[in-house]
Symmetry: C2
Subunit: 392 residues, 2 copies
Amino acid sequence: MAFKFADRMDNIKASEIRELLKLTQKPEIISFAGGLPAAESFPVKEFAKASGEIMKNNGTAALQYGPTEGIDTLRKHIVNRLNKVKVNAEFSDIMITSGSQQGLDFSAKLFINPGDVILCEAPTYLGAINAFKAYQPKFIEIPMDDDGMMMDKLEDALKTTKNVKFIYAIADFQNPTGRTMSLERRKKLVELANKYDVIIIEDNPYGELRFKGEILPAIRHFDTEGRVVFLGTFSKILSPGIRLGWVNASPEILSKYIMIKQGADLQSSTISQMDTAKLLDEIDIEKHIQSIIALYGKRKELMVKTMEEEFPSNVKWTNPDGGLFLWVILPENVSARDVAVKALEEKVAFVPGGSFFPNGGNENTLRMNYSAMPDDKIVEGIKRLGKVLKNL
Amino acid sequence: MAFKFADRMDNIKASEIRELLKLTQKPEIISFAGGLPAAESFPVKEFAKASGEIMKNNGTAALQYGPTEGIDTLRKHIVNRLNKVKVNAEFSDIMITSGSQQGLDFSAKLFINPGDVILCEAPTYLGAINAFKAYQPKFIEIPMDDDGMMMDKLEDALKTTKNVKFIYAIADFQNPTGRTMSLERRKKLVELANKYDVIIIEDNPYGELRFKGEILPAIRHFDTEGRVVFLGTFSKILSPGIRLGWVNASPEILSKYIMIKQGADLQSSTISQMDTAKLLDEIDIEKHIQSIIALYGKRKELMVKTMEEEFPSNVKWTNPDGGLFLWVILPENVSARDVAVKALEEKVAFVPGGSFFPNGGNENTLRMNYSAMPDDKIVEGIKRLGKVLKNL
């Protein structure tokens, strides 16, 4: 049968990463492709204890419907997470989402008419591109340097483009580049959003995972007009399987997100929320995050050190101060998709970078994840990849 | 600030039920307004045991990302649920959703361009209306009688209307009327969908909760061309707090739902899925469903019997063979919204029926839920409501 789907479906493709991940789930593959947190970092015992207590003392409530905006106890814990990135929020300014991916989908649903413009870092998070594309926007890519999105290029775009609805930015340890936006640029970004009357969608899944230096204030910290929407998540500091993230926004905007959530899935899992709130009552989450930072920091150092030893000199990469990813730039004539095929023959996987550019191109780039593989596999995988690159 | 939201947001309102539920959560209110399953029916101890075992033996996997389409073990259990309504499905034809509400949102996202037409029962589920409205459809309401949607009226609409994308139907113990579509009409519905080349979205949250007679084959049972999409849920047979439902559709269509799910929230809670699959391994779910049926059947009988005794003779109602709701029709000049205000003064709540008609009108109707209140409150609530109705 040939069914008539909505026009928006022409824009929606299966995520290249998800498809690739299926190939790379074989245990013999050394995969730098996914964005998986290190499973050994999960607080399994503590979660088991918290969830046991919830089922024993609040089991009925955990299995029942709850409020669309999320349960109060968890929203209160999220206030602490926001304080960490210097955002002052009341718990009533927070709505729980099913991961920050849902926050991305809702953001486009809330702001984008077909043909409206989204300004974003180039490259940017593939999952955001896919979520946004369902609402038929145009993307204008703003170039980055080591201090993040370039503000002069951003202002050029704002000056010359109609129907810009929002700027999408991952200011901290950006996916896919690992780059961080400087303090000055964060201030400038809010200034420009005010001046040109656009919204900022700040996606901040990694901000707390800083290996060195101090955590920077979020873009939302500088928000003077309630036009910055902050998306956060427990996926990278606790567990992605619980599927819990949040939106923090000014009341007028948040009330719209709540209406969207009602239509989309009524609410996120009550049991996930109650278990997680209980866990956060009981564990020292700051200490837990420190242990993740120690683990990922060490893996990142090892990956960069091994790349320095094994990669040919015409290959460049970023050296992030936090997060899960670094970005590799190959010589201009080399296609990372071709390299990926050869690497898979050597049982090593990564994600070719072209997919992270909403308007295509930049095929000589690739993304490497360092959070999910143990030390020996990082060394072995980079060695094999070095060999592939030297043989080009 | 006055922010520029997307045009679709003009269509999205806060759910009247959800707003009303906030008012009615005070313990002194006897509420027939919600759609809550009886909390005393939840298998709390069994769920605690299953979830304890998962955290002990598979805790790491439960906290990690999982596949977008859902975990295999749970999808296999869903095959049994589909067999119950005589739908033959492979587990690969099933995608897990975050409640069937998410299936509704995705269905409109998949099929509806602005201005496209949805045909639905009049009245129909408010949550579906709200989910669909975000995609800017037109609704054509198809009248019902005691055998459900009227097929001659449906064919009239199909004949004379362009851009009909799908027919939305709740064939079993419909929300809000409690009515069930006859076997003959189910067959006819599929015939008409084939003839006029439209999709059927079959929403079946209550099909297994039949108090008397035999479970009817689902509409999807009669599907010859892979054009019926079946939405199911664990909310009413197990727990709504786990937020787990499913889509069953032909492979071409299901693959599109999976792409939408990737963009919308990547996947539903791994831990909810694994706990639920384990629970279904361990309990006798058929016996559990029988106990829910016994409870709701008794409550429905009590409500109807008390209404016969207490309501004035110019008030009519349906007498469902299953599900959670019945439908009350007041004299034509009476507004159920006015009655609701007076009833709340007597500390009794229900949902005025007008909201269940996408194009408005029918203000002399109301929906009553009988699953959530114990016997004594049903009797007392109906008595008070009877008094209000007699005083009109």
